[in-house]
């Protein structure tokens, strides 16, 4: 069966606010709520997922124009796997990876160079806590350039 939805989003319709759909995958209900609120206030439609499995289900139903992915969900590498899956299905969909992992826990994303960042398949990496301004800034960087 041809995957027409996937085809549609190869070039996200960045100029039409109504068509912006963000998939937010985070197992922390607080962050899910907060990011969802922020994106709604930025004019996005929001689809929420609390695990990688739920996010994959949502990917079957929706073709997101943007994905916000928490790195550690049900497993510590769930976010990596999800990023990979999103890019496989929708190569043009930008991904913002959010993480509370810091240098202390052994993951130091701040120090990653450009080529290493492509390995996580993310267009932006933000460390929690994430401010409204940061998300809004990333969105305008990714869509309004």
């Amino acid at each position: 069966m041809p995957d027409t939805t996937a085809h549609d989003v190869k070039e996200p319709q960045v100029n039409s606010l109504a068509q912006r759909l963000v998939l937010i995958a985070d197992d922390d209900p607080d962050f899910l709520f907060q990011h969802s609120t922020v994106f709604k206030s930025l004019g996005f439609e929001v689809v929420e997922a609390a695990s990688r499995a739920e996010a994959i289900e949502q990917l079957d139903r929706h073709a997101p124009t943007l994905a916000v992915v928490d790195l550690m969900m049900e497993e510590s590498d769930s976010g990596f796997a999800l990023c990979h899956e999103i890019k496989k299905r929708y190569p043009a969909t930008p991904i913002i990876v959010v993480t509370s992992a810091s240098a202390l826990t052994g993951y130091d994303f701040e120090s990653l160079r450009g080529d290493q960042r492509t390995w996580i398949q993310a267009d932006a990496v933000l460390a929690k806590p994430i401010r409204f301004d940061q998300l809004a800034g990333q969105v305008s960087r990714l869509f309004d350039r």
Partner: protein, 393 residues
Amino acid sequence: METLRVLVADDEQGMRLGVRRVLRDLRIEVPDIDAIAELEIDEADCGESALEKIARHTPDILILDHKMPGISGLDVLDRINGKYGDMLTIMITAYASIETAVRAVKRGAYDFLAKPFTPDELRNTVKKAAVRIVLAKQARRLADERNKVRLQFMRTLSHELQAPLNAIDGYLDLIKNRTQGTTLDAYNEVVDRSQDRIAGMRRLIHDLLQMTTMESKSRNRELARVDVTKVARDTIEMFQHQADGLGLSIHLHREGPLVMNAVEDELQIILQNLISNAVKYNRSGGQVHVNLDRNGTTISLGVSDTGWGLPPTALDRLCDEFVRIKTPHNRDVPGTGLGLSIVKKIARLYSGDILIDSEWEVGSKFTVLLKDNQPEPCPDAQPAPAPCLAARA
């Protein structure tokens, strides 16, 4: 098996060979830690060569002759001057001169042997040094291990303490940026959620204090006769309201007293944690069963639920600190991940343990076993046999 390196520094070849022969096949048993040490022997024929070998590859034990041409044994000791932390030196003094021995010990030698000495004297002196070294190595390994565990704990703890702060920070940011408009009422949910996280942080701090209290308790706790049935009844009452709200029924399967030697607060903490879990992780309309029993000197406190159970892979680490098993059913259940580790620490204070029996999608049973160090002559019959009979009737 531990291999210790021995360097024999003596200008007489006969002496070096003799020492080597006596020590070659020596197996040293280290009491207390059940370890065995073997020796690997190297030689140096003068003080200079000894110093060079020590600098290159420091031995565990140095057997050092005092009287050598060139630099003497005492000079070697001076130059070593505590530089090689764990190396122990056994000084061989030539004329049974007590002065040299005393000077050697003052300059950092661990022990001395006076010529002429018997093979047994040599063996015993080396054994003593070897045992000391093996024990010191073991102590250092344990300290390293403790540091590692502590570091891991602090990392997890700081993560757990930061999580609610980050969440509240995020909610305040939503308000600050007026993400829901300018009417205050629109933010009620945001405020409620922030307060939930504050309550969670309070629980975490409470549990942390409780846990460290249990860890620091000495053996001299003041035990008294405590009726476990009464503690259970009071604890159930505490949770009755919450259970009613979820349509749960809690059943206590014991009527008569069950008396043991214990600290009442500790029994309360065990039962509060187990019953709280059984209520929180149940399904609406479910049941909680509390079973109290005695088998000889062992008291068992069992709490079972009709919840969703746990995946079998989770059981091993369930009592570790900060472990919370995430399943689709318990996503919104608040908890600190410390309750069961506290229960386990208390059980240990009673030479006891916690047994977990869980079936995925069916329910879980947690049983805490405690040793009663002063059981009544007639179990449960106290003070007169009458209530004992009544309870069984």
